[in-house]
């Protein structure tokens, strides 16, 4: 256990100290501030595409444009930019060391390959958690500081859900937990590909390609796509949105979490299996 702790500590240091790790922090900060600036300047115009459908019949009263809505919009980008930022670091954890040659020193130490790959996986999850914390701070707390708080208008393809302000914090907590689970899948997938491939770029590109293709399948309501959608992890990556429905579909959310967990277990198992058998020729 002590040995694993020492290896894990090493992996955490390496992951955090790598220059490319700071790209993720910078990008998140920039995107949040950029969206907050855009909403501050043009928020009403941006919202009109939603409220426009009601304009003939209703006036929408109350503070629609508030920090909660901004956070909801920013979190939508979870499916687009967050997986790339996660894969950028986690996809390089093993293959980067293979390409640079440091893997040789790592694997000629007493620690088993299983411990090493698990330590790297956990370090990847830790980095993912850091990214989410920064996202949470900027998307939620900074947005609330700028725009105030209040009820949140959650958009769904079937309409709107208004979540009352005093009923929202626990939903945010749950949403970020599910988001962590979702990005944990991305991290595990990237780590798995990193164990299989010997260069840094291919795992990152492959992860993004998989997510893009699966997301495109999810976007279109075609009968042939509806059959495979429940099995795609990208379908369940956005199950955090279900926390902003009324009533909250607990069974659906639990099912999505289970699917995501199963994906993580499968990816980590493949990583361990493959890494233990791999010949290090680099």
């Amino acid at each position: 256990m002590k040995e694993f702790g020492a290896i894990l500590y090493n992996e955490l240091i390496k992951t955090i100290r790598r220059p490319r790790s700071f790209i993720g922090f910078g990008v998140i900060t920039f995107i949040c501030l950029m969206l907050q600036g855009a909403f501050y300047h043009d928020g009403k115009e941006i919202l009109s595409f939603v409220t426009g459908q009601l304009d003939n019949i209703f006036t929408v009263e109350g503070k629609v444009l508030n920090g909660n809505l901004i956070c909801f919009v920013v979190l939508q980008t979870l499916i687009v930019q967050m997986p790339l930022l996660v894969a950028l670091v986690t996809g390089d954890l093993v293959s980067g060391e293979t390409a640079s040659g440091t893997i040789r020193f790592l694997l000629t130490r007493p620690a088993s390959r299983t411990k090493i790959v698990l330590a790297k996986w956990i370090a990847g999850l830790f980095y993912t958690l850091l990214l989410l914390i920064i996202l949470g701070i900027f998307a939620l707390f900074v947005s609330r500081a700028i725009f105030g708080t209040g009820d949140m208008m959650a958009l769904n393809s079937e309409g709107l859900t208004i979540i009352r302000g005093d009923d929202i914090n626990w939903r945010w907590g749950g949403a970020f937990l599910i988001a962590f689970l979702a990005l944990g899948v991305v991290s595990s997938l990237a780590n798995m590909l990193s164990c299989i491939m010997d260069n840094s770029i291919t795992p990152i590109v492959t992860v993004m390609a998989i997510i893009i293709v699966f997301t495109i399948i999810g976007m279109f309501d075609l009968p042939s796509f509806d059959v495979i959608k429940p099995y795609l992890f990208t379908t369940h990556m956005i199950s955090w949105r279900s926390l902003f429905e009324d009533p909250v579909p607990i069974p659906d959310i639990v099912f999505s979490c289970v699917v995501l967990l199963v994906h993580i277990i499968v990816f980590v198992s493949i990583s361990i299996f493959y890494f233990n058998r791999k010949d290090i020729s680099a």
Binding site: P19, S100, G101, T108, R109, P110, D279
Partner: protein
Amino acid sequence: MSIAIQLQSVTKKFKDFTAVDQLSFIVNTGEIYGFLGPNGSGKSTSLRMMMGLIKPSDGNIFLFENALATHRSSIMRRVGCIIEKPDFYNYLSAKENIKLFVRANQLKYTAKDYDALFDLVGLRGRETDKVKTYSHGMKQRLGLAQTLLHNPDLIILDEPNTGLDPQGIIDLRYLLLKLNQEQGKTILFSSHILSEVQEICNSMIVINKGKAVAQGKVADLLSLEKLHVVIEVNDEEKMKRILSESQCASFFEKNVSNEFWMNMSKSQIAPFVQLLIENNLEVCRVDYKNQLEAYFLKITQS
């Protein structure tokens, strides 16, 4: 005397290519063992198999008389190695890199210990610099530091002289001799600088195309070998006569002008030169190819 390394019919096949073929040898504890072979002979693959980086297709590997396949963790605590070139995390300083390895080996190092280690490899004063600013030679030294920091009983070095300046080569030679003679460490040493191998190794193995072609004590392997000697004189005809009458040289060939190439043992050189002088020949030059180099070329090209 116990056995530090034992390979038993170790084979490694990559698809339809056999990189190592039924390789067997023994390295006793306390030896400095030379591991030689031309490029592509399977040296690197063999070393990687010994360190568990590559799994053999067949055969067994024992380190400290324990099977590597089942006792890897305990074995690796006693082994330090440099395989190919040493690589580090370039975005960290030298000391931070060493700290990672210290932690991975679960050692407790004080500031003094770090200073002593960097002193040993000649990098004191540069330990806080990022590794990306290091030259190749400095990285080699840092690799040595990484290899030695946990005081291993067995040291495996794959071409450690690469990138070192002449002083660095000499320093490394003395360091290895010191580690072996004073601390009883076993050293497996692969190098293309054959003079170094001949200088410091007790035993050696030469492999070619994945197979062992010669192994044993260096002195025994080279004692029977004649040197390839070249002597330049001022009188060609007189030289030919002396050579044909003499029993020192087993073969001679005249190269350019008055240069004569011949095979003779080292102990015969001085008496033969003396003979030439006594016959009033002016000896302009006496030279010979490195014994191991000649031996190496002979057995790997045959």
